[in-house]
Symmetry: C2
Subunit: 346 residues, 2 copies
C-alpha cells in the first residue's frame, strides 16, 4: 500500500504544502513545472503527495484555465456498431493527446440532443463531435452561438459554417440502387428511418438519381417509412413490405440494422433472399457479412471517420486558442464502397 490515508477530494494542495513545509505555489510547480523546483524540495513534496493520496482537482484546474480537457461525442445510436466504431476511432486519436472523451447517445432524438448540448455547454467541454439528430441545422446554430468548437460527423456542412467529416451518402445510395437496377430490378423499396435525418434523406436521393439516370420513372424506388433505425424497426418494415399490393423485388435499407431486421421478417415468412427479394444494406457493419444471407452493403470507413473528425477538432481548438487567427474550416467527404454479397446476387 502506497498510502491514500484520506478520502479523495478531502485533501487539497494546501494540506500537501503544509505537510511538506512549502507554499502552495511550490507544490503546483512540482506537479506542473518540476524543473523549477530543487531536487530536495521536489522529493519532499512528492512524498507528501504520495502519503496523503492527493489527487489534483481537475475541476479547480479547469475553472482557472477556462476550459476542460474533455471532448464530447454525441452519436445517433450507440447500439449501432457503425457508430461504436466511429467512436472508437475518435477516442483513440483524442486519448493520444491526453484528452478525455465523453461518449453520449442522442438516440436520434432532437430533444435529447438539445439536453446534451446544454450539458456540454455547462461543462465547458473542449469541443464536440456530433452527428446531428436534427435535420434543420439547429444543432450547428446552437453550437456556434455558444462558441463551442465542433466537427460534424457523418454529415457534411458548407465550409464557411464549420468542419465536417462525412461519407458521400448520395453516391452511396446511387451505387446501391444502380447495382439493383443492373440486376434487373424494377420495383425497389427504400426502407428508411425518420426522414429528418440527413443520412436517410441523402441515401434516398442517391437512389432516385440512379433511377433517373437509368431512364426509369421515379416510382421504381418507393420509400417505406420507418420511425427508427434499428433491427426491430427493420422487422416491422419487413412485415409491412410483405403486405404490399405490388410486392417489390428488391429492398434497399438506410442501414444494416434495418436490413438485418427485414431479412429476419422475410425469412420468417418463407420469402427467399435473394431469389424472391434482393436486399442491400448500408454501413457494412461486421455482422452484415455473418448474416443468414451475407448482406450486400455500402461500406463506410468508420474508424477513419472518427479519427479524422478528432484531428479536425484538434486543429480547430489549437488554432482558435492562442491568437484567434481565422481558422479555415474543412469539409472532408470520404468515399463509400459497395460490397456485393449473396443477398443481392442473381
Amino acid at each position: 500500500m502506497t498510502g491514500a490515508a484520506r478520502v479523495a477530494g478531502k485533501v487539497g494542495i494546501k494540506e500537501v504544502a503544509r505537510q511538506a513545509g512549502v507554499s502552495v505555489g511550490t507544490v503546483s510547480n512540482v506537479i506542473n513545472n518540476p524543473d523549477l523546483v530543487s531536487d530536495e524540495t521536489r522529493i519532499r513534496v512528492r512524498a507528501a503527495i504520495e502519503r496523503l493520496g492527493y489527487v489534483r482537482s481537475e475541476t479547480a484546474r479547469q475553472l482557472r484555465a477556462g476550459q476542460s480537457r474533455i471532448v464530447a461525442m454525441l452519436v445517433l445510436d450507440l447500439a449501432n456498431p457503425f457508430f461504436a466504431e466511429v467512436a472508437k476511432g475518435a477516442e483513440r486519436a483524442l486519448r493520444d493527446v491526453g484528452l478525455g472523451v465523453m461518449v453520449c447517445n442522442s438516440a436520434g432524438s432532437p430533444s435529447e440532443e438539445a439536453d446534451y448540448l446544454a450539458l456540454f455547454a455547462e461543462q465547458r467541454v473542449r469541443g464536440v463531435l456530433v452527428t446531428p439528430a436534427d435535420g434543420s441545422g439547429r444543432t450547428v446554430e446552437t453550437l456556434r452561438a455558444r462558441g463551442i468548437p465542433f466537427v460534424l460527423v457523418d454529415r457534411s456542412l458548407p465550409e464557411d459554417q464549420g468542419c465536417s467529416v462525412s461519407v458521400d451518402d448520395v453516391l452511396g445510395g446511387d451505387m446501391a440502387v444502380r447495382h439493383l437496377i443492373a440486376a434487373g430490378h424494377r420495383r425497389i423499396a427504400y426502407v428508411g428511418g425518420p426522414m429528418h435525418l440527413a443520412q436517410v434523406r441523402d441515401r434516398f436521393t442517391g437512389g432516385r438519381n440512379a433511377v433517373r439516370e437509368a431512364g426509369l420513372p421515379d416510382d421504381v424506388l418507393t420509400p417505406l417509412d420507418s420511425d427508427r433505425l434499428d433491427v426491430a424497426a427493420g422487422r416491422d418494415a419487413g412485415a409491412r413490405l410483405l403486405g404490399l399490393a405490388d410486392r417489390p423485388t428488391a429492398v434497399f435499407c438506410a442501414n444494416d440494422l434495418l436490413a438485418l431486421g427485414v431479412l429476419q421478417a422475410l425469412f420468417a415468412a418463407g420469402v427467399r433472399v435473394p431469389h424472391d427479394i434482393a436486399l442491400v444494406g448500408y454501413d457494412d457493419i461486421e455482422f452484415a457479412a455473418a448474416a443468414a444471407v451475407p448482406l450486400t452493403s455500402v461500406r463506410q470507413p468508420a474508424a477513419r471517420i472518427g479519427r479524422t473528425a478528432a484531428e479536425l477538432l484538434l486543429a480547430e481548438t489549437d488554432e482558435t486558442g492562442p491568437d484567434a487567427h481565422a481558422h479555415a474550416h474543412r469539409r472532408i467527404v470520404l468515399q463509400p464502397e459497395l460490397v456485393v454479397r449473396d443477398s443481392s446476387r442473381a
Copy 2:
C-alpha cells in the same frame, strides 16, 4: 435569434448581475431558488441572462459543491452490442435523475483502465460503473482507496467489498455445456478471450462443472485461447480449430462475437453447422438470431444490468452523502437463460 451576443464562457454571473442591477447572490437565486426572488427582479435577471447568452459554469459549481454531476461508465468493449445495451440501460436511469454519463472504453486493457480511473478521480466524478479489465481486484482496490463510489457491472463481488450487478456466469457456462453434452457431444472446445477476465474464467468453470456432473473426464471440454473477444479473434480461433488433430464436435464461445467469427471461419472452410460442428455463444446479442446459422446463445438481461447498476450507485451516493450512515452494499446476481437455435440442433 434570442441573443448570445458573447462567446460562451466569456460572460459570468457577475456580468449578468451588473446588467440587471442586482448582486451576484440574487442572480444565483434566480437560477437555483426562484421562489426567493420577487417577480419583478426575476424577470429582469432572466432577461439579462437571455440577452447575454449566459451559461452557468458547471465547473465552478462543482468546485464549490465538491463533486460533479457526472457518472463514469467504463466497459470492456463499446463495439460489443452487449455492452452498448448495458450502457443504454444505465444511461437512461441516470439521465432521469439529471446526471450526465461519460461512457468510456477500456478495450479490456488493464493499463487503459488505470488511465481512465485516474481521469475519473481527477474529475471528481459522482461515481463509477465499471466492468473490470483486471482480474486481480486492483480495480476495486484503487476505487476504494480513492473513495469513489462504484458498482461493478457484469462481475460480482462479496457484499462487504462493494455493490455489484452480475449474471451468474458459472451457471451460464453450465447451461451451455450441459446442453451440448445432452446432444451427445463428447469433444467440446471452449473458445475464450484472455483468462484474466472473470467472465471468461467463470464461463469455463461452469462448463467444466457440467462435464463433471455428467460423470465425464475433464478433457471433454478443452480451452482454446484467444487474446481478444471480437469477431476477428473468433475467425482466428475457428481457423486454429480446424487444424486440430482431434477436431471437436462442438464449440462453446465466451461471447457471441467470438462465436460469429468462428461461424464465419467454419463456413469458409465448408464445415457445416451444426451438422459437423455445433456452436453455442454467449450474451445473445441481437445479431445472434440473424446469423448465417441462427446462434444458440446464453442470454443476459443487458439493459436490466445497466439500469440496476445505476440504481445501486444512486443508492450508494445518496446514502453516503448526507450523514455517512453505513451503506449496505448489495450483490445482485441475475439469471442467464439458454436460447436454443439452429447452431446446436441435431
